[in-house]
Point group: C2
Chain length 233, copies 2
Amino acid sequence: MFTLYLCYNIDMTKQHYHHGNLKEEFIRIAFEFIAKEDVEKLTLKILAEATGTSRSAIYKHFKNKDALIETLIERGFDIFDEKVSPYFKTNTLPLIDQFYLTGKLYVEFARKNPNLYRLLFGKKYAYIREEILSIKEEDCSGFGALKKAVERGQKEGILKKEKSYELAIVIWASMHGISSLIIDGFLDVEEIYEEVYETLFETLLVGIVSNKVKIFSALPGLSKRLQPHKTKV
Amino acid sequence: MFTLYLCYNIDMTKQHYHHGNLKEEFIRIAFEFIAKEDVEKLTLKILAEATGTSRSAIYKHFKNKDALIETLIERGFDIFDEKVSPYFKTNTLPLIDQFYLTGKLYVEFARKNPNLYRLLFGKKYAYIREEILSIKEEDCSGFGALKKAVERGQKEGILKKEKSYELAIVIWASMHGISSLIIDGFLDVEEIYEEVYETLFETLLVGIVSNKVKIFSALPGLSKRLQPHKTKV
DNA sequence: TTCTTATGTTAACATTGTTCACTTTGAAAA
DNA sequence: TTTTCAAAGTGAACAATGTTAACATAAGAA
């Protein structure tokens, strides 16, 4: 009874003035929102009501609404990297398998977080991306990681030698293209998603792999897929 | 002097009430606008001022703002088809060359009309697209044309036999992916665009082409590109 | 000429992001 | 302990947005 009353008292106190950790609360709620709806539909009113504050409270923590969304993008890229890049940091798997699995995680991320993916890879906040990428340029996240993986593949003799930058772009374009088409409602591939990804990756692989090597893969499916492309070692 | 006065009179008369062809004028101005800026920035105020009417005049011609944009999308797809599909309607070119050239027109369209492309292939108005596609399903525009071309290629023995739908998706995803990445500011490829497209198409081609055929192309570049993929006829 | 309808106008509305003057709170300084 | 003050909340007001409603006019049919 006493505890109950105390809780009630605290809640009432915290609802007005000095919320405690309102900034993080805004971010959390915003992420919660875009898990379900497009970021365009997120309003200050929604944020205010969800936190039990007023519409203008947010301005004590962010310069404006866009600043909150920019924060979402920054953290979103961290989440993205965390979810998608693990296989690029492994040494135990053949490189081709790393490509296969990373690509799969990429599309999976987009499918599971369509609104976040659209926010991260859409046009509207492209400027914030440039800042993020320029900061992290030397590390191994995002496109940089892909390009390095391609160069590694070329050194190992697995991938075609010419034009690593162009090759990386082609790979990214495939993954971005299929992800976008799916989450933007152009393709209803829920039923046949596995087949679509297999076809996509196989096509890509045959195109980027050096025609001088035969690839042995740790993943049972992959080596099989590569058999039609037999060439002498 | 008389003429001048008459013009003045007519203009004044036409500015108030009975514009003449205001609906088409709205559409024209909207297209003019998205040639330069994103459709998100188009407001009723802009349309009103450009036509010399009031902000609510548009409601006599469209149900609401979205209805105008839906009209833009419908016409936009017509323009898109007109610009992109001509090579798919030709019989004088080898099929592979048709793919090559159509793909090039596709990316070119996106680069020249980034805001329109984003409007046509973005998520926001996906619903209107479904209507358009369902109406035009049986004809040879858009994805249907691509799928038919793939099937033709399979019949001719040029393309891999399995999974025409998946193969068509892969091709579309490549073109959509590279287009989106470029126009949304992820890649600065203005300088090396030609090389990027060549690499993209080459990669794609090697992946989709049947490994039982050697392809002869009318375009000098293409047959050369295919030489690394030599196999017996 | 008169009536009607299409097509324009202006005024008002709710909702949006944003700013400003204010109030409250909690903690450091006295 | 009391005072002070910056941090963090409030509500009122603003302009811009899309939208609606009541009203005005032009043009053609009756």
